[in-house]
Amino acid sequence: MEFINAIIVLLNYTIIPALTYGSQLALGAIFVTLIYGILRFANFATGDMMSFGTMFAVLLTFYFQSLGINLGLLPTALLTIPFAIIMMILYMLLIDKYVFSYYRIKKSPPVQLAMVSVGVMFVTQAIIRIIIGPFDRTFLDGQKFILKASEFKEMTGFSEGLTIKSTQAITIVVTIIFVSILFWFLNRTKTGTSMRAYSDNEDLALLSGIDPKRVVLITWVIAGILATIGGILYGLDKSYRPFVYFNNMLPIFAAAIVGGIGNPFGAFLGGYCIAFAEIFLTYAYKKFLSYLLPEALEPDSLMQVLSTDYKFAVSFSILVIVLLFRPTGIFKGKVI
């Protein structure tokens, strides 16, 4: 009984949130890794591109709400995803045409392209501030909880209640569906194989007749879908505040590098590695231990390894440790 209560506490405060946060990071990390693998630069505008896509979802949600369109129990934002994705892809293709393609054709070194992406980041931030402003916005509607703590307690009789927020369930389900389709596309289709070939050996890909323009186009399309979905899921789960997306770049890059940069499946798992590490190290285990230990041994302190303020320090430390001891990441990506 006590043991099950302890497990419920863990599920509630660490495992379910970490799976959710991990899914959001995973989508961002796959974005980073695809751009790095195929376009060959670290895209520092990742966070703000996610923010850009989410901005359209927020605005469209408000618009749909004003028209009285909604999805009932589900958030209206889900309905806006296709439109937000289209706007995001258009923006990315525009940026690519007028900014990145110039340096790509010149065969600029990756560092230069990364610096260019910092410029794109600032411009994107400014555009977002002009269009929607820097304020915090909640755009979640529909049913908030799938399982409420009180309902769970009534159902089972445990003293701890398990809660599952609808955003958590939506995040995990949408991520699994989308990532499965993406991996099927990359590994099983001719176009996907040609993208992996281009990432593997560009010169030989060109000699084999692969059209680089098409590969770049498809990369941005996939990147646009990833950025928008990842951004919207994060915004629904927390709230939409443009700056937070910029901060999220650290765990996202850490996830991509832990997984082996250039390796999409590694980035996917890397997202969960970082999320679990951050949450396990910043969670206060007092309540959990109080269920397991006899009363005499119950801890007085919070039993927290690090304060939650330091959660970015966790991803930063993981990043440094991986780069020092295994620069290719868990799944053998490219050496940075």
């Binding site: 001719k190 194989t193 040609s194 992996r196 070939a197 990432s199 593997d200 050996n201 010169d203 030989l204 890909a205 060109l206 000699l207 084999s208 007749g209 692969i210």
Partner: protein, 235 residues
């Protein structure tokens, strides 16, 4: 008039000096031609010029009588010229079968049939078809590289040092494979460091020195030419 010709080619990199000057190389279908010469003689450059990886300053390249000097490498590939670079000539992260599929990227028909033909030519690839190429041995990788290049059903195959860095046993095996390819009526040009072995399987050979044709003749002639032997074959 040969099937694939580079006539009086002069070329160099960017603004630099001419690496090859008035260099002429030609090959017919069903023939192996070796390009030999000391280091820095312009062997690889001559081959790259024929593929279009660098622009000619003068001279021309023709295939089947048609001038293709102005085409880029991708378009020359479409005309039936296939190239195996010396290094990075496979997709190391992809499986053997995927490498072959990418080789036939431009073809939509008969993919399975061509892959079966490649498996017949290189049986080892059939056994390892689902394996990542990065995990294969050097000789097996070269076979993947050859197989990938053959997937376009080329009429001309250009090989840049196909036996570089493999053991003598594997080298013999690779040369046997190259002879098998030749018998499928493909014109083969190869640059080789292992001059003696290369000449022994070649129908003809060119010896380049400082970017110019120095000697040419049948494989046997060159093998027994005293001057060639003294300067390049080390005996």
């Amino acid at each position: 008039m040969a099937f694939f010709e580079g006539n009086q080619m002069t070329a160099g990199y960017d603004e630099g000096a001419d690496i090859i000057s008035s260099c002429t190389i030609n090959v017919n279908k069903g023939e192996i031609v070796a390009i030999l010469g000391p280091n820095g003689a312009g062997k690889s450059t001559a081959m790259k010029a024929m593929l279009g990886l660098l622009n000619l300053r003068s001279g021309d390249v023709t295939i089947d009588g048609k001038n293709i000097s102005d085409l880029n490498p991708q378009d020359r590939v479409k005309r039936g010229i296939s190239f195996v670079p010396q290094t990075r000539n496979v997709f190391a992260g992809l499986t053997v079968r995927e490498n072959l599929e990418i080789g036939a990227f431009l073809r939509n028909d008969e993919l399975d049939k061509i892959i079966e033909e490649i498996y017949e030519l290189f049986p080892i690839l059939s056994d390892k078809k689902s394996q990542t190429v990065g995990e294969l041995s050097g000789g097996q990788r070269q076979q993947v590289a050859l197989g990938r290049a053959l997937m376009t059903k080329p009429s001309v195959l250009m090989l840049d040092e196909p036996t570089a860095g493999v053991s003598p046993i594997v080298m013999d095996e690779l040369f046997n494979h190259i002879i098998k390819v030749k018998k499928t009526n493909v014109a083969i040009i190869m640059v080789e460091q292992n001059a003696k072995q290369a000449l022994s399987i070649s129908d003809r050979g060119y010896v380049l020195v400082t970017g110019k044709n120095k000697f040419e003749g049948s494989g046997k002639q060159l093998l027994h030419d005293p001057e060639v032997r003294r300067s390049f074959l080390g005996a």
